[in-house]
Symmetry: C2
Subunit: 296 residues, 2 copies
């Protein structure tokens, strides 16, 4: 089968063997933010035309913002609680061009105790890729971090925190942007990051705490790089203290960001492990298998 | 005397009679963000050259970001606790060009219980313009809102909340920007604003609550205009619940924003009054009077 994780800013394709092994992967910057509905089939041909041709019978499954209102075709949200079988039942077909049909995995919606809705697209597929049968608390860090509650293998509720977006806005457009140095890969200033995490637990609130990035730069208490990691610590600290679920947490993410979240959970005295990578490929495979069993 | 409130984005000049009455005011967009140190004397000549010529003996007093490192000349912060007399003693001279000297009011700094610094420039002058002899809690809403504690007429501590800046970043650059309608003057959607204020007191935290602007738009629960006021309510609610001081609050600000904060305080069950306008002119006059008494 062919699985594609197609988000706002990125495209990841996986050629997956019948036993679930990832045979090949392709990554491109063709996120849905830059596409119109008529572009998708062409982008697929361009990126993985050879795969489609080589395996004309292979199922093609897509997850992520590709199924949003701004994507290829809107796949209505499945309402929590949702298990993998529910999603396999609700796949949304799209035409690849020559009569071939691909399917989009629907996103999830839930309502919290206040009746406020929340949504995800793509993360549900990664979560089901973990193949957790029991209960778990899951954290997917990112532009819009997700904190998810799994009960008996089903997603029963979740909450989004706009941590990554607010970080990017402050870094790129804010009045403190000029005081920050860009981050250079994996080199985390741990002391500054933990100072931010610690501050997030003190009185005054997030809108007050972030101003200290400015004042501590002004008084030369932080370098430009340290200030960036301090800001990251403040924001992630606020997120984890109030949005994360209780209990041992599984972090689903890759590279630097997943490591940073693990460090943050540990600093805050919360247990967390990082899940193996390629959760999206595993989830696409699992949903593909479930859907195949249902199709006569 | 001539008093000037010169901030990052604006310039307000007041011609003030010896009894404190404001005879004339001029407003310009020449904020310090667009100026270099050599520009200031020229801008003054351009904006109020006629006042300077007509009253060659008048004292000229400036407050605000004009005294910052990025301004005309850096006026070192006065450390809290600070009364108006302390500021009058620490005015920082600048040359107007023909041997005439103007003075800049220094900003204030303080450190909170965690040792984190905070700063203000310009607000101190407005606060002393209120001429409050006793104790008070003061709120100055804005891009960087200030919450100030006055004890026996002196500023003993304060905290900044970046409410206005975060609101502007989300409205202008964020992923929810496209879902919001621009605000149209004074017409506040009170129901949406109060829904945001109410949400700010619920679990989940600020980074989670602001995501509901997106989801509630997605589910057509809010119009674009209502969503803007809902976001405003979420942010102001978070600010006031954790950054404002206890006790009756005096709001120092003008127009729509001051009214919105008064509404927010009332909704949250906190007492607040809006101070009379032109607090900056009154503060510049008061500090000018104090300085004149000290000069032999």
């Amino acid at each position: 089968m062919i699985g594609i994780d197609w988000g706002s800013s990125g495209f990841r394709a996986y050629r997956i063997a019948s036993d679930g092994a990832v045979l090949e992967r392709r990554v491109a910057a063709s996120g849905i933010a830059s596409l119109t509905p008529t572009d998708y089939a062409a982008v697929l041909q361009q990126q993985i035309g050879d795969w489609l041709q080589a395996e004309p019978e292979a199922a093609v499954l897509l997850s992520g913002m590709v199924g949003s209102r701004q994507g290829w075709r809107e796949a209505a949200y499945a309402e929590c609680p949702v298990g993998p079988g529910d999603l396999a039942d609700k796949l949304c077909p799209v035409e690849l061009g020559d009569g071939r049909i691909a399917h989009i995995v629907p996103g999830l919606s839930c309502r919290n105790a206040e009746g406020i809705p929340d949504v995800m697209r793509g993360e549900e597929t990664q979560i089901f890729g973990l193949d957790l049968a029991g209960d778990a608390s899951i954290c997917l860090p990112g532009t819009h971090s997700k904190h998810v509650q799994l009960r008996a293998g089903r997603i029963v509720g979740f909450a989004t925190a706009m941590t990554g977006e607010v970080f990017a806005l402050l870094k790129n457009h804010g009045l403190i942007a000029a005081m920050l140095e860009p981050e250079t890969g994996a080199d985390l200033d741990t002391a500054a990051f933990e100072a931010g995490l610690a501050l997030s637990g003190r009185p005054g609130g997030l809108l007050h705490h972030i101003f200290s990035v400015r004042t501590r730069r002004l008084f030369n208490e932080l370098s430009g790089t340290a200030a960036t990691h301090y800001l990251s610590g403040i924001l992630i600290g606020h997120e984890l203290r109030v949005t994360a679920w209780a209990g041992r947490v599984v972090i689903v993410g890759t590279g630097v960001l997943a490591m940073r979240y693990r460090k943050a959970f540990a600093f805050l005295g919360m247990d967390a492990d990082v899940a193996p990578e390629d959760a999206a490929a595993a989830g696409l495979y699992r949903l593909g298998q479930l859907a195949a069993r249902r199709t006569p």
